[in-house]
Every structure is written in C-alpha cells, then in structure tokens.
C-alpha cells in the first residue's frame, strides 16, 4: 500500500515499473480474452455467434431463451446433474478433508515407522496423472459393487494426495513448537492437541484443501465418465458432454431436432464455471495468514 502510494503519489513510475505493468497488461489480455468472450457469448444467439464481431453483447432475452432451451432438455435434467455434482463435490471434499488434514498433521508432527515412505508415496501419487489409474479404480469398484453409484465416485475422489501434501507443509511449522509444548503441559492428549490447538489454527489450509478438492470434484470428467453409466447419476461435466454430443450442436451433422445449439452449449460451460468462481471467492477470505499472530514474540 505504502509503496503504491509512493509510486503514484510522486509519479515516480520508472522504466522497470512500466515493463512490469506492460507485461501484466499483455498477460491479462491474453488470458482474460477467452473468459470475457465466454461470458459475452452467453448472451448471443446462434446467428450472432456466426456472423457478428467476437465481442458483441447479445441480449438478456436471448440468454433467457437459451437457458429455457437448455432447461427444457429431458425435463430439466441439467438441474438434476447439477445437484449430483453438488453431492459428489460435497462428499468428495468432506471425505478428502477428513483424510488429508489429519494425515498431513500426523506426517508433520510425529515420527513413526514408515513416515518417510508414506511421504514419498504421497508425492508419487500426487504427480501420477489421475487418468492413469482410472481403469484400476473402475475394476476395483466393479469388484465391490460400487460401480455406477454415488458412493463409488465419492470414495474414489476422497483420495487426494495433493491435499495431504499441502496439509503436511502447513503443519510442518504451524502451530509453533512452543505452542504445542505448552498445550502438552496444560494437559492436552495427542488427540486434543490436534482438535483444540492445531485444527482451529489450520483454517487457511483447510480452506485451501477444500477449494482444490472442490475444483477437482466439480470439474471431474474422466473418472466420472468411466464410473457412471446411468444418466440419472451423471455429474454436470459428464451430463453436459453427453447432451452436447447428443445434440450435435458443435458438429456440423444434421440437426437432431433438439433445441441445443451453440448458445446453449456456451451457457452450459458458464454453468460449470460459475460455482467454482463463487466457491473461490468464499474460500479465499479464509486462506489468509495472520491466524498465528500473538502466539509468540513479534
């Protein structure tokens, strides 16, 4: 703040500063354009999309119309998929939080046999592309009869090594050792140490893990498309993909008669992105440091 005030207040914007602003501007334009296009395109009609300049604003009536078309599909099945997505996401986030936060804490604070091995395995699992284990997961779920169920997908997505690693990093230096020591003297058992001290101070990392887990679950396509075969329990990405490819909206095949065209597809894409934005805005308020201020000298 102070620096900004100084720079602008005294109009001392040097060459280096200009380069930085220029770079930020170019990057913002480059990466922001597709998003801006997407949100604008949601308001446009099919013919407008085909012929008007890229950044034309259509009309809200057009948007409502596209929405009605999208919603009318199969008795508002989109809403059903959105609800399913919510179930999968809430389930997956909850499960991964229950697993990741204590696991990271244990890895960071206690020394038990196999700790190093588990840490290495966590890293390996973290960098393994999830697509590469979709088939074994499918076979496993098949074996225990959880294929094509809510529980199956939730259980599979509860495995979130990235979250374990984030929590591990966090708990490696928080709470400060002195705080844990004094809690031990105050009479905390190992379990209470976690619930009374470490967990209440871990709000930033819990929010962060929850957000990343939500992101992964909400946009989970690959695993879902393999595990789910009944369209009643599709999540949004799978459902919308099925809808779009079924309608032929993006191909130049003969029209199928469904009112699903480009505008509807664009709206569907917005539908997937919007909740992520909302959740991010909520989560980032908690992902802030400052939880520890006052614990120690400072």
């Amino acid at each position: 703040m102070a620096t900004t005030a100084r720079i602008f207040g005294n109009k001392r914007v040097g060459f280096g500063q200009w380069v930085i602003y220029a770079l930020i501007g170019i990057a913002g334009l480059f990466y922001g354009t597709p998003l801006a296009w997407l949100f604008l395109a949601g308001t446009r009609s099919g013919s407008s999309l085909d012929s008007d300049p890229p950044f034309t604003f259509g009309s809200f009536e057009q948007m409502a119309q596209s929405w009605a078309n999208l919603a009318s599909f199969n008795d508002f099945q989109i809403l059903n998929w959105a609800l399913n997505s919510l179930i999968y996401s809430v389930g997956g986030v909850t499960l991964s939080l229950i697993a990741c936060i204590p696991a990271g804490y244990a890895l960071a604070t206690s020394d038990f046999p196999g700790r190093r091995v588990i840490l290495i395995l966590t890293l390996v699992a973290m960098i393994t592309p999830s697509q590469s284990i979709v088939l074994p997961i499918f076979l496993e779920m098949n074996l225990i009869g959880l294929n094509n169920t809510y529980l199956g997908l939730i259980l599979a997505t509860g495995f979130f090594p990235f979250g374990v690693y984030l929590a591990y990093i966090h708990f490696s230096d928080s709470p400060p050792k002195g705080v844990l020591d004094s809690a031990r003297i105050d009479g905390c058992s190992r379990y209470q140490l976690f619930t009374h001290i470490a967990l209440p101070l871990a709000r930033p990392i819990v929010s962060l893990v929850a957000f990343f887990s939500f992101l992964a679950n909400w946009s989970n396509y690959y695993l879902a498309v393999v595990l789910l075969s009944d369209d009643k329990i599709y999540n949004l990405p799978v459902g919308l993909t099925a809808l779009v490819s079924g309608s032929g909206a993006l191909t130049n095949l003969a029209a199928t008669g469904m009112p699903i065209k480009k505008p509807e597809v664009i709206l569907a894409a917005i539908l997937v992105i919007l909740p992520v934005l909302v959740v991010f805005l909520i989560a980032q308020r908690f992902v802030r440091s400052g939880m520890l201020s006052g614990a120690e000298k400072g």
């Binding site: 705080v179 003297i185 105050d186 009374h196 201020s293 000298k297």
Partner: protein
C-alpha cells in the same frame, strides 16, 4: 511445593551427547536458576524436567515420585516459555482457563481461578483481548497466569524475560520475585542473564558444555567460583584474567609472575596445587584501583603500569579499560568519575589477596581472600 531430584540425568540427541549425567536436588520452595552460555544445555535440562524431552539416562523425581516417563501434564509442573507460546485463537481468559477446562473443573471454579490469577498479574482489563492485541510484557503475564492457575508443584521458566526490553525486564523480574514470595512454590528458572540469576535465585546452577560447573548461593559463586568458567560468567562486568606463571612454590606459599607490565612477581598464600607452570590470575573489575604515577602505595599493594585505552562514564560508575601488556584489556570499575582519559599513563593497584588463581585446566587453586575493595 515439591522437591525436584535429578539422578544421573543425561541427554543425547542421536549420537550427540548434550548433557552429561547430572545430579541435582532442588528443595521444596526453593528458587533455583540454571545459568550458562548459549548451547550449554539449560533448556534441554529444563525440558526433561517438564517431560517435553525424553530422558536418555537417569531418573527424574518430583515430590519424591518417579516421573521419568510420565506425560508432561502428569508431573504437576507448569512452564513459561521464552516465546510466550500463547494460544492465538483464544482470548486471554480462555488462554488462562484452558488447562482447567481440559481438567474438566466446574465452571464456577474455573471462573474464580482465572479472575484471581488475573488480579495477581493485573490482567483484569485484558481478559477479552486476543493475544495479538497485547504487548510483550502483557503476553508474558498471560503465560505466567496460565501457569499459576494450575497450582503446580513446580514452576519452570525458560528465559521468560529475554524478549522484553530492559525496563520491562526489571519490572517483570520484580513480579516474578513477588510471585515466588507469595505462592512459595518451587521454581526453576533458566536464564543466560546473570543479573536475573543473582537477584532471583536462592541457588544458582552454573552449566557449561553439558555439565554442572558449580552449584551454590549467588554470592558464593561470585566470591568463590570453583573454576574459571564460573568466575568469568558470574559478575558483571566480567572478571579480568591475566596469564601468569608459578615460579616457585612451597606448601606455605608461592611466587607468581604475571605476564603483564614488566613481569611483576609477587607472593601469595598456599595454592591447592603448587606445581610450577602456567596459571591464570583473575581479578574483579572493582578490585583494581587506578592512580596517577607518583604516590607511595600502601604496603603489600601490587602496582602495574598501565595505559588507559578508553573510559566509559555512566554517571554513578565508570569503566576504564586499561592495557597492562597482557593479552586482553583489563576492565576497572570505579564509583563516580575518574580524572583519566584515553592514552594516559597510570598505575593499576591491586591487593594480591583479591586474586583468584586458576590452573591450566581452569580449576580454581586459590580463591580471593580479601573482600573486593569498595571505592
């Protein structure tokens, strides 16, 4: 109030031995200070008493009970840390009440205890604040409050004042002394500040290099240090050391030659060991007097020619640093002002009775017999 006994307590981190076996008995109600330079193992020893660090060898007994392997909370100890270590997500009240709540005490009792501790420590107006909204001194008082409400058998302090500024440190030092008077609990206090140790403790345990160098009342350690380490560590400004040599010795007395000035030699009473060879001679800064060359010294006084290097005037006391031709400058402490300036020639007058003599290994072979001359 409880007795704390350490029987052959030693500590190794892996293959590294940081504390040699230590035997120590802290009497009920006693205030003992562990002093020593950084890395001497003071905190480690204290943490082993608290149960925060495992004991590699030996036994720890508190109140006659063997607690070597007991959990920290089962030992009846409370600890105050250098870093305060408050719970940042709880307000002052909850910080102090935390251990009572864990012990599932009734609400009314908790409230009474917390308010009493707050009164003792003058925290009443701060109970609703979060630790982040407190000053360093207030935070440390909360940490002490947290310890008081446990009614511990033993209070453990690990450099509780070293993060505070000088004025606050003096004030908190007095508060800790008052606390000890009022509740009379056994207290063990780690510090590397020898002023705190001298003023607070009934007994000082001087640690160096993972071993107890000397245990005793503060003024005992000051007057009769058992080795060169203690002699140099206790007392401020620190004792001056001058290399010297035993030139002839009998059981009744020895001759010593100082490696200073023009090689002044003088006789002293019997040393514990009178082998000829290198020794070092220690003299407290207040046992040296400076005067301008000329006058006749009182009989028996040793006079060493010196050059004044620098003078520090603090008003009530003056420190003069003089060069007598030995390895290091000597510090001279005198009351009031001195009429000397940098570069002046002077004579440093010392009563030989105020010399401590240490052998080559640092062990005391003669303690000063004269009380340090007061000026």
């Amino acid at each position: 109030m409880a007795k704390v006994e350490l029987k052959g307590v030693a500590k190794s981190f892996g293959a590294v031995r940081v504390l040699d076996p230590i035997d120590l008995c802290v009497e009920p109600g006693e205030f003992v200070a562990f002093v020593g330079p950084s890395g001497s193992g003071k905190s480690t020893l204290l943490r082993m008493i608290a149960g925060l660090e495992s004991v590699s060898e030996g036994d720890v007994l508190i109140g006659g009970e063997e607690v070597t392997f007991a959990e920290p909370s089962e030992r009846g100890t409370a600890m105050v840390f250098q870093s305060y270590a408050l719970y940042p997500h709880m307000n002052v009240y909850d910080n102090i009440a935390f251990n009572l709540r864990l012990a599932k005490r009734p609400k009314s009792e908790i409230d009474a205890q917390v308010r009493e501790a707050a009164r003792t420590l003058r925290l009443e107006d701060l109970l609703e604040r979060s630790p982040a909204q407190l000053s360093g001194g207030q935070r440390q008082r909360v940490a002490i409050g947290r310890a008081i409400v446990r009614h511990p058998k033993v209070f453990l302090f690990d450099e509780p004042l070293s993060n505070l500024d000088a004025a606050l440190r003096v004030q908190m030092r007095l508060e800790i002394a008052r606390l000890h008077r009022e509740i009379g609990a056994t207290m063990i206090y780690v510090t590397h500040d020898q002023v705190e140790a001298m003023t607070l403790a009934d007994r000082i345990v001087a640690l160096d290099d993972g071993a107890i160098q000397q245990t005793g009342a503060p003024l005992d350690l000051y007057a009769r240090p058992s080795n060169r380490f203690v002699a140099g560590f206790i007392g401020s400004p620190k004792m001056n050391f001058i290399p010297a040599e035993v030139i002839d010795g009998t059981r009744a007395g020895v001759g010593l030659r100082l490696h200073a000035g023009d090689g002044t030699s003088f006789g002293l009473g019997a040393l514990k060991s009178a082998k000829a060879g290198p020794v070092s001679v220690g003299v407290r800064p207040e046992a040296i007097r400076l005067h301008i060359a000329g006058g006749t010294p009182p009989a028996g006084t040793l006079e060493i020619p010196a050059r004044v290097d620098s003078v520090e005037r603090l008003g009530n006391v003056t420190y003069t640093y003089i060069d007598v031709g030995s390895d290091e400058l000597l510090t001279v402490q005198s009351g009031g002002d001195v009429q000397l300036k940098s570069g002046d020639q002077a004579l440093a007058a010392i009563q030989p009775e105020s010399f401590h003599v240490f052998d080559a290994a640092g062990k005391t072979i003669l303690s000063a017999s004269a009380a340090p001359a007061r000026t």
